[in-house]
Amino acid sequence: MTMTVERHTASAAGGEERECAVRLDHVTKSFGSRRVLDDISLDVAEGRGFVILGRSGTGKSVALRHIVGLVRPDSGRVFVRGDEISALSGEPLARVRRQIGFLFQSAALFDSISVGENVAFPMRRHTPWPEAEIRDRVMAKLQSVGLDQDYEKMPGDLSGGMRKRAGLARAMALDPALLLVDEPSAGLDPITCEEIDELLLGLKQQQGTTLVVVTHNIPSARKLGDELVMLHEGRIAAQGPVQVLEQSDDPLVRAFMASSHSG
């Protein structure tokens, strides 16, 4: 299969005035003999919504894990807000990570503590806030994802969609400047899904949060993505705003964009 590679980087589109929140610079990553990311370069502008699309198993989650430094590239570099996270360890790495909120595809809630304590965890670790303030803030975060009744519940007792939302609340706990979310709408009903999109959109518009969203949900991608990228077989198959992807010469990209599949 031949792929047309279209590159519209953030810096090329908007000049150099918008600083890069995230930059992947010729990142290549293999697991065993399988090359999952093959020389990927992309820029995410500060305060924008960046959507990663692609079929299952094309390395979207792996790309996201590079940004938070959970996976290191075999070659190439990853920058977050000016710091080369792919070269950091120890306290400097932790300092960069404190600016990032991360929603795992599996939600990855700490299952030995309650939902509320999961959201409180980053606050307890990284802020001097007193107990009452933490409690208030946790309630506010839970409320924003519609889980304000579930503070005391244990993660094992939640439904899949609830786990996802609890994970999102935890990712937002410290009001990060950069929010990375892996399939936020997977397992959600259309109404809740729309509410989550509105929540993310609100963060971007009101607080200037940079969003990097992996999703299979095209309506969400349209709503959240100022810029979209489609990965295919380890490479970038298409990149640009919605209109560019819709008019791509690549039938796969067009087919992807035309689907109304949500979830």
Binding site: R97, R98, I100, F102, F104, F110, F121, P122, R170
Partner: protein, 261 residues
Amino acid sequence: MLELARSRAATHLASVGEFAVFAGNAARQSLVPPFELQETVRQLYELGLRSAPLIAASGLAVGVVLSMHTRASLERFGAESMIPAGLAMALVRETGPLTAGLLLSGRIGAGIGAELGAMRVTEQIDALEASAVDAFRYLVVTRVVACVIAVPILTTIMNFAGILGGFIAERAATGMSLGLYFERAFSLINATDYVPATMKTMVFGFLIATVSSFLGFNTTSGTEGVGRASTRAVVLSSISIIVANVVLVRLIFFLFPEAAG
């Protein structure tokens, strides 16, 4: 065939090397701040205090059996009055530490292997890292410190429970009074019997925690992997304790010649 065996051996050797680095880091980081005090205390409770009933009950049973054996052998020499002292000596010097060590490799090793393994495969360890928490320090170092503190204390509990078990057997056999029993039991024991033998269980604690954390931390392939990590944690920490014990007893005899007397 030879090729396969060689590559197998190389993999095992590489794991041993990785383990050495892992254990070395755990030892070093347990001595330098920042200390995860709250989490360490929680582990002391989970791994230590909650093992106490198992240890106490087993100690009693071991004491009863040991006393029956001691009676059987000492009666032949008409030395029944030595039963309490002989029993206490056997317990404090070797039976208590080794039995406690093996029981705890079972309980604590399986627990750590399964818990950390599950956290690995459900991405909770990654989630800790992504939340800017040093997962090794938070999960491994706290457990290692808790075990190094708890195992000697649990061993001491085992010794006391064993001596008490011995009393129960003795009482049933001869109706000996508690006062006389304890007087006789402790008549021969001194610090060189208790201190080195109990200190060596700090090494047992270190081995149990590092071996099982290593296996849990490096778990792969889902639920099946978690089960395997848990089983291997028990097997390998038990073996490592038995082997380390040989070396440690040799070392104690070398450093405290009176302990051999």
